[in-house]
Symmetry: C2
Subunit: 613 residues, 2 copies
């Protein structure tokens, strides 16, 4: 049944030989790798305005200089990653760069920051995408959380089916979005310059009163909020191996293109928001307000909203490639459970995909699918991993000193310093708004990684054959505890006889009347097999049995097998209709194992008796 | 750890020989068996008034005739049970009387009705007891649900420890309650007759407007609501065996005493409520209002509230004897899971006690600890079981015709007809207020009892040795699936060799690289034991193994044991760090068993490897 549902949702399993690696040209790669970065223009401007508005409508004028500062930062980070892609043709994720250049601890910090951020990317992108839709169709607004969870479930299932990063699927929405936004900006600027535009509906509203004074702190908070525009720029650097050779060359060029497009779109949207006097408000996004002001509710307005939604879904989708891949790497390095490195039926890292879907749905539900509420958590992790990546590169150049390293190190150092400063600013300005959650979470994650690693190391040592060879079996006793006499019991006794010579059938005397009846029936049906009776003044089944079993374990290499006749019910609820003594006994055995080093020689075997109805 | 908490809460286990049966004199028995019945005066009058007030303050005058009708019904039911206790010295619970005189289906209806009612008795009594406390201490009112759940948890734990129905524990609060209420009534009537009483605070409030017309339907609903006064009168009849001999004689006299006291208290409270012009309202019970009017907030007022609380807790406690006892009987008759007939560590039917605690807590939470909301569900089941019990007795006299049967049958028939009419009236008048829940639940419970019975019958047939004798073991093959080579694997291979001659060690080729490495290490460490490789193009571990195992099962009596090396982690969270292939394989085996009748010959043995850290 479950298996059937799984087949319908996920599809039939794929054979291993179909695992392949597609290589992409620059135009395709731009589409595949830049959706995360480009999609952030859907919310970055709005986040700046939402902070500034706290100081009243007049403060909105400051959005333009802030946007210019962010654009400058974007260029610095872009140039820094431009150096990286040339140095790491096998892919320069922050986890790997940190591990190779900075050591284990920084790499775990980067890993924790990245995993957190991939989850947040899904939550933020889907929330923003749903906001684009509910801006266009306000009656859907109350259903935004449900819509977001459904969208995440859909993306999760598609990824479990194994959407390969097919360039065709990605190219259309990405270029469509770029075209839409650039057209919006072009038409908008033209109409602003020619003065042919009507004042925005929002601008005609009464000026918003200042709730807070316009402090430097507020300005910095507006700046760091806008820095979400930078999220996703690392994707090209992570994905260098998917480029056609020469990988570094092609990735570098694509990166420059992406940064150019991103800066243009971000500055364009911010400029228009400023010129049109857009005031951020609940229920409609800033991009929607701009598009509505310029195009009214024409078909073009709806196209922009649809394009925004689509690119945001693609952005979320990139995390579905990144999160499982990073957790697979960390699982191989034994910092995460090894199941995360298992390749599923459809040749994807299914466990990672499912975890990502669960965690991001949880975030969306907890934060009511509000992009604005999620943003303070978002970018701290991104900038932490930026900083570690670029610091790692500085270290790399110092070690390698390959030709031209002097230029590269300057750009990487500039990037490292800039992103470090911004990361600290973020931690401070957005601390109480949610950044503390991530700042607390990352050390906890690092501790978890270390605990997992420690466990695997311990296990490896305990399992090592070179350290100690297991004791061979010298003696084997079989104990069959029975509580009645029926076909299942007889089957278990026969089976026990097949396992060894030394077989003991015992019953625990919980109820003297019933024990007497049992002994009588036993003599009648199985006269050749003696039935021993264990006294139990406290009616416990487990303790007398355990004592009996332990009485056999007198020397090293003496194994005792406990053969339990067990019902396997035909329906799940039948489970509750039978005493689960076999289960209880297993638990007791596990629990008691530390009492005695002999514990390792007791083995329980259930002889299943399959009930038909 | 869990075991330790259990010991602290429940105490050490008790040996079987300490199970004893106390016999009670009449005075003690009255205390033990009547708390449920007597405690209903705490809410019965209030329930009448709460319905009448819907037709405005003036309608409250009708409470007196309604109370008289209820008192008459009480006498009829009392007289009917008086016949029963003489006929059934071994205890005349409705389930047993119905089963013996009416057949299986009526007994199951009675069983379902009684189990439901025992749960409701706990929920109603505890809610009313908490209401007595919050009436005296209004700041506690918002915490009533929490208080009720804590009270239920406390009673549950006390019963799990095994509070024997010790007469001493019960005598004090029951007689204290009787004394308090009779004093209240005596002083109240004296003051009313001498005209020395102040008008009640409630009576000075403006008259309540009629929300509904005063219809016959409303009157009947007020009557049926007041019939909750009858709940619990069956307790003496159920408990005949605890009386000193002659049991029937003593039980009969005690029953008459109980009915007399109950009628006096119920009529007295209703009379005072009427004379003092008490209007029912949220936050303070009617009894509390009466006591406050008569005694102000003196120490005596608080004593009455405390006595009410105590008797209601005792009333709830009687269900903790009745529910587990009835479920034990029904479990022995195979209508409920057999675990309900297990005697626990402390010589009580622990599973029944726990179920009662859980279900009644759930009810209290769902109905916000409101007695008024619970009442419509309550008495339908009681009157259904009354009717069945007394109808059963009519049948009994017709069959036996023991001396004096003519008188007895008249009283029982009168009781049966009267309670049947009231049961129908209840079902109709309180249907939409909640009675439908019970009316829907009882048939569902009956269906469940029958399904459980059917299952046990089926199992008994499948297990019968006289019908078919199991096939002896003719051939035994041992398969050891391994995924690596370490101490746990070597131990499992040694163990497998001890089980039989025909041992096959296999590995599933999920990852060709790792398989090659494994083969090499295997040759080095275990050169004498061949390792077979099973291909798995879809990377599934389970399916190739299942096919391999099934390939051995060629004839009847060929058993295949699958020996699985299994890690037993030292901490619970380590479970998530290892592939649980053994578990998955077990599930798959259970799931696939229906594919082939050979399923019954596959046995899985986990060879545990206990990890130390």
């Amino acid at each position: 049944m479950l298996s059937y549902i799984k087949r319908i949702l996920i599809g039939m399993p794929l054979p291993t030989y179909r695992m392949s690696h597609e290589r992409l040209g620059k135009v395709q790669a731009l589409a595949v790798l830049s959706s995360d970065a480009l999609s952030s223009v859907a919310y970055a401007t709005e986040e700046i305005l939402m902070v500034l508005i706290l100081a009243g409508s007049a403060a909105l004028n400051l959005s333009w200089p802030i946007a210019l500062a962010i654009a400058a930062l974007l260029v610095i980070v872009g140039m820094s990653y431009y150096q990286t892609v040339h140095a790491y043709p096998k892919g320069a994720g922050s986890y790997i760069v940190s591990r190779e250049n900075l050591g284990t601890l920084p790499s775990l910090v980067a890993g924790g920051a990245l995993l957190t951020d991939y989850i947040l990317t899904v939550a933020v992108s889907i929330s923003a995408g749903i906001a684009a839709i509910t801006s266009a169709f306000p009656p859907l607004y109350p259903w935004r959380v449900e819509l977001a969870v459904v969208a995440i479930a859909f993306i999760t299932i598609m990824n479990l089916r194994g959407v390969r990063e097919s360039a065709r699927v990605f190219a259309v929405p990405t270029y469509f979005f770029i075209a839409c936004i650039l057209t919006l900006i072009g038409v908008g600027i033209a109409r602003v310059l020619t003065g042919s535009i009507q004042p925005a509906e929002a601008a005609t509203a009464t000026a918003v009163q200042a709730a807070q004074p316009l402090t430097l702190f507020l300005l910095l908070r507006a700046f760091t909020s806008g820095c979400t525009a930078l999220t996703g720029v690392e994707a090209i650097s992570d994905g260098v191996p998917v480029f056609k050779p020469p990988e570094g060359e092609n990735a570098g060029k694509t990166l420059l293109w992406m940064v150019t497009i991103l800066v243009t779109m971000f500055l364009g949207i911010t400029f228009l928001a400023h010129q049109l006097g857009i005031v951020p408000r609940e229920g409609e996004t800033v991009v929607s307000q701009i598009a509505r002001t310029i195009f009214d509710r024409s078909i073009f307005y709806y196209l922009i909203q649809a394009a925004t939604m689509l690119i945001l879904v693609l952005a979320a989708n990139t995390s579905y490639a990144d999160f499982p891949r990073l957790s697979m790497w960390m699982a191989r390095d034994r910092f995460l459970p090894r199941q995360l490195a298992n390749v599923g039926d459809r040749l994807v890292y299914a466990n990672g995909i499912i975890l990502l879907g669960l965690f991001s749905s949880l975030l969306v539900i907890l934060f009511h699918a509000s992009t604005h509420a999620l943003i303070p958590l978002y970018a701290v992790g991104v900038f932490t991993s930026f900083t570690l990546n670029q610091t790692g590169m500085v270290r790399y150049w110092l070690r390698r000193r390959t030709p031209g390293w002097q230029t590269s190190i300057i750009f990487n150092a500039l990037g490292a310093v800039a992103t470090f400063i911004v990361a600290v600013m973020m931690a401070v300005t957005k601390f109480i708004h949610g950044a503390w959650i991530v700042l607390a979470l990352i050390p906890l994650l690092v501790m978890m990684f270390k605990a997992i690693h420690h466990h695997y190391e311990e296990v490896a040592e305990q399992l090592s054959l070179s350290l100690r060879w297991p004791t061979p079996v010298k003696k084997h006793t079989v104990v069959v505890p029975v509580a009645g006499l029926h076909r299942g019991v007889v089957k278990a006794v026969y089976y026990a006889k097949a396992l060894g010579e030394d077989v003991h059938v015992v019953t625990v005397d919980v109820n003297p009347e019933e024990t007497a009846k049992l002994l009588e029936r036993w003599k009648h049906y199985l006269p050749d097999i003696p039935l021993e009776v264990l006294p139990s003044p406290y009616r416990s089944v487990v303790e007398p049995l355990m004592d009996y079993v332990n009485s056999f374990i007198d020397e090293d290499g003496h194994y005792v097998t406990i053969v339990m006749p067990e019902f396997v019910p035909a329906r799940w609820w039948h489970f509750f209709l039978h005493n689960q003594t076999a289960l209880v006994l297993k638990w007791a055995l596990n629990y008691a194992r530390r009492d005695t080093s002999q514990g390792r020689f007791r083995i329980i075997t259930d002889v299943p008796f399959y009930l038909r109805h």
